[in-house]
């Protein structure tokens, strides 16, 4: 059958129009993201690797042991994760992927940060306005179900190859859980607690900051965790448009049919994922 509706063409025309009419915006975004990623990268790579490893391990240890850091009980709680971080990062370092791991971490952190900066306010908005929810929900479904590769095409179109289109595609893919879990957290605040707030004369703003957000925090932090993990799962795809890091090595492994390369870099991603996951989960637990 012939093509009757050429939807793709209209979309393409729309994208074209956006690209040419708002080029100042795209270049500003590109510059902003590139600068942030590069600065973080340079800073982290200039720091000796063992300082980073020890700092991350100490941070994770403190998150788990808390005020009991210097007691036997605290040691028991924190030693596992701290040990894993030291072991995992050392392995990565000794395999020779330290630089790529830092690049990936930077990419993930920047993407996560932007996704949260957008996602949490949108989540708050959808929780408080039915109208916003009806508007945003199908958009989120679209973002999550559309194959991630598809985002790459317009991303290159707007930002050419490099880190920026990778970050943008990652943000689009990882944003929905931040919105959804923020909304869920706020909506699950018991009605009576909100009512108590109003009964004592709280304004809408006070209700949000003193009741809804603090009570939704565990759910929001679960969202943060999800965003980070989804971002990590995008690193290989992002490398196809020129994003640097472990993902590009996996990609190279695929292209060269190199099992050793693929396994090592894949393992690096897994280690990084476990560490980031455990750290964010500890933050969530501490907040409860």
């Amino acid at each position: 059958m012939d093509k009757v509706i050429d939807l793709g063409k209209y979309i393409e025309q729309g994208i074209n129009a956006l690209e040419s009419n708002f080029s100042f915006l795209w270049s500003a975004i590109d510059e902003g993201i590139s600068w942030t990623v590069d600065t973080m990268n340079d800073g982290l790579l200039a720091t000796p690797f063992w300082i980073i490893i020890l700092l991350v391990a100490a941070f994770a240890y403190y998150l788990n042991a808390g005020t009991k850091s210097f007691t036997r009980a605290g040691f028991k709680k924190g030693v596992g994760i701290a040990g894993f971080i030291i072991f995992g990062f050392l392995l990565i370092y000794l395999m020779g992927y330290w630089k790529e791991t830092i690049q990936t971490t930077t990419l993930v952190l920047v993407a996560t940060l932007i996704a949260l900066l957008l996602g949490i306010p949108i989540g708050i908005w959808t929780a408080r306005s039915k109208w916003a929810d009806t508007l945003i929900r199908p958009l989120l479904d679209f973002m999550q179900t559309m194959p991630a590769f598809v985002y790459l095409i317009p991303a290159i179109f707007f930002f050419s190859v490099g880190n920026t289109p990778g970050v943008i595609a990652t943000i689009i893919f990882s944003l929905p859980p931040a919105v959804r879990l923020t909304k869920l957290g706020i909506q699950n605040v018991p009605g009576e607690v909100i009512e108590a707030g109003y009964a004592f004369g709280a304004t809408e703003k006070q209700i949000l900051y003193k009741i809804q957000l603090p009570l939704a925090m565990p759910s929001i932090l679960a969202g943060v965790n999800q965003v980070i993990l989804l971002s990590l799962s995008m690193v290989v795809i992002a490398s196809m448009v020129g994003a640097r890091g472990l993902g590009s090595i996996v990609y190279r492994g695929i292209q060269q049919n190199n099992v050793a390369l693929g396994f090592e870099s894949g393992l690096g991603i897994v280690i990084l994922a476990i560490i980031l996951d455990r750290i964010t989960q500890s933050i969530g637990r501490k907040n409860k």
């Binding site: 108590a196 109003y198 009964a199 004592f200 004369g201 709280a202 003193k210 603090p214 009570l215």
Partner: protein
């Protein structure tokens, strides 16, 4: 009580609240006298509160009683406008709350009215003292002064020492004390309590009721208390409103509602009441019992009085009618054998005396393990006002049927002949 002289704190006039979209039409139908079901059919609106009228006096505990769906919770939420009434007025301190602007309303909620919730409504991420200080924080008091006030409020409800714990670490009863402290910390004129003790188990509930009465003695707030439990209403309420289907069925004090139920609905309620908590010593006691005069009567006279009344125990009073104790038949016989002139040795002074307001529930524990009846005495000068026999307390505690109790009381009277 001269209620007409008391100052009105809250006046509710024709308060109506309708749920649904087509409120105007529903209100119009309601005003024309259509029934609830007609209105529901025509407009799909339900009537939450139907033209409620009442006044709450300053310093009283005003209880609104009704089953779930009776509109009592909706009614209390109209008082601080957590729900906006469809029609009618709520006057507090000469101000109609239904007409207040948003800022005025915030001010009213922050300074004049505080609310206590059924499931406490505490903030789980804040410590006890921060929870108690919540209302003060909302109205912008600085940290030092709000923590000091919260501390005082926590002491009032008996929670000192728990300041830095978290709500989840406390039992239900203690959590509700925090809820109460949070309301008291604001030092409002009016306390709204929505089923405040309904989520607590019965023993704790009873404790909290006592606690509330004790606190009320100190703080003298105007309290509007919502409950579905008539026993609770009777225990706490200076006056009680009974609601059904959004309509106020009766307003009165516990005695009036018990004795003159205004409708079958109220009557059905009253029948289920645990009478132990309402029947007092005053209504059970034999007034003007035969007594032994301590200064005048010797053992022989006392014995004679006993025989003529066919009793084996009598109360002893002095010439000011002050209750001294009981004398028993066998002890008196001992004394006459020894030819003693005074009855001092025979008087049993280790007995319980109660006041007129004591309920059967209060008196039950006093008679266990004792043979003697209870003396009802005046709180101030200890004058003997009557005697309550053990039998009548037990009858009251076990029987609920009015006529049966009356019969048994008659029998008891016959048997003991306390009265002359």
């Amino acid at each position: 009580m001269a209620e007409t002289n008391r100052k009105v704190k809250i006046a509710v006039k024709d308060l109506t609240l309708i749920f649904g979209k087509n409120k105007a039409q529903a209100l119009d139908m309601l005003n024309k006298g259509h029934s609830k079901t007609e209105i529901l059919e025509k407009t799909k609106c339900t009537i939450g509160v139907n033209k409620a009228n009442f006044e709450v006096y300053e310093g009283e505990i005003f209880v609104v009683m009704g089953l779930s769906g009776s509109g009592k919770s909706t009614l209390i939420r109209c008082l601080n406008r957590l729900r906006k009434p469809t029609d009618g007025q709520v006057w507090l301190n000469g101000q109609d709350i239904t007409k207040e602007t948003n800022n005025e309303l915030l001010e009213t909620r922050r300074t004049e009215m505080s609310m206590v919730f059924q499931n406490f409504g505490l903030l789980p991420h804040r410590s006890i003292i921060e929870n108690a200080a919540f209302g003060l924080e909302i109205r912008g008091e600085d940290k030092e002064s709000r923590l000091a006030k919260a501390q005082k409020a926590l002491e009032t409800v008996g929670l000192q020492g728990y300041e830095n714990q978290y709500p989840s670490e406390l039992s239900g009863g203690m959590q509700q004390r925090v809820g109460l402290a949070r309301a008291l910390a604001n030092d409002p004129e009016v306390l709204l309590m929505d089923e405040a003790f309904s989520a607590l188990d019965p023993l704790i509930k009873s404790d909290m009721q006592d606690e509330l009465l004790a606190i009320q003695e100190k703080v003298q707030k105007t309290i509007v208390f919502i409950t579905h439990d008539l026993d609770e209403a009777i225990k706490l309420g200076d006056r009680i409103v009974i609601m059904k289907d959004g309509v106020i069925e009766q307003i009165g004090n516990a005695e009036e509602i018990m004795t003159h139920p205004a409708s079958e609905y109220v009557e059905a309620f009253v029948e289920k009441v645990d009478r132990k908590t309402i029947i007092t010593a005053e209504s059970l006691m034999f007034k003007k019992p035969i007594v032994v005069q301590y200064e005048k009567d010797g053992p022989e006279v006392a014995l004679r009085k006993m025989r003529s009344a066919s009793l084996d125990v009598l109360p002893v009073v002095d010439k000011h009618k002050k209750f001294l104790g009981f004398v028993w038949l066998n002890d008196l016989i001992e004394l006459t054998k020894n030819k003693t002139q005074k009855i001092d040795e025979a008087i049993k002074t280790e007995v319980h005396s109660v006041q007129k307001e004591f309920t059967v529930e209060d008196m039950l524990p006093l008679i266990s393990g004792m043979r003697s009846p209870l003396a009802v005495v005046d709180e101030k000068d200890g004058r003997l006002e009557g005697i309550v026999s053990q039998t009548s307390i037990i009858i009251e505690a076990t029987k609920y049927d009015k006529t049966e109790i009356k019969d048994l009381q008659e029998q008891a009277k016959e048997l003991f002949k306390w009265t002359k």
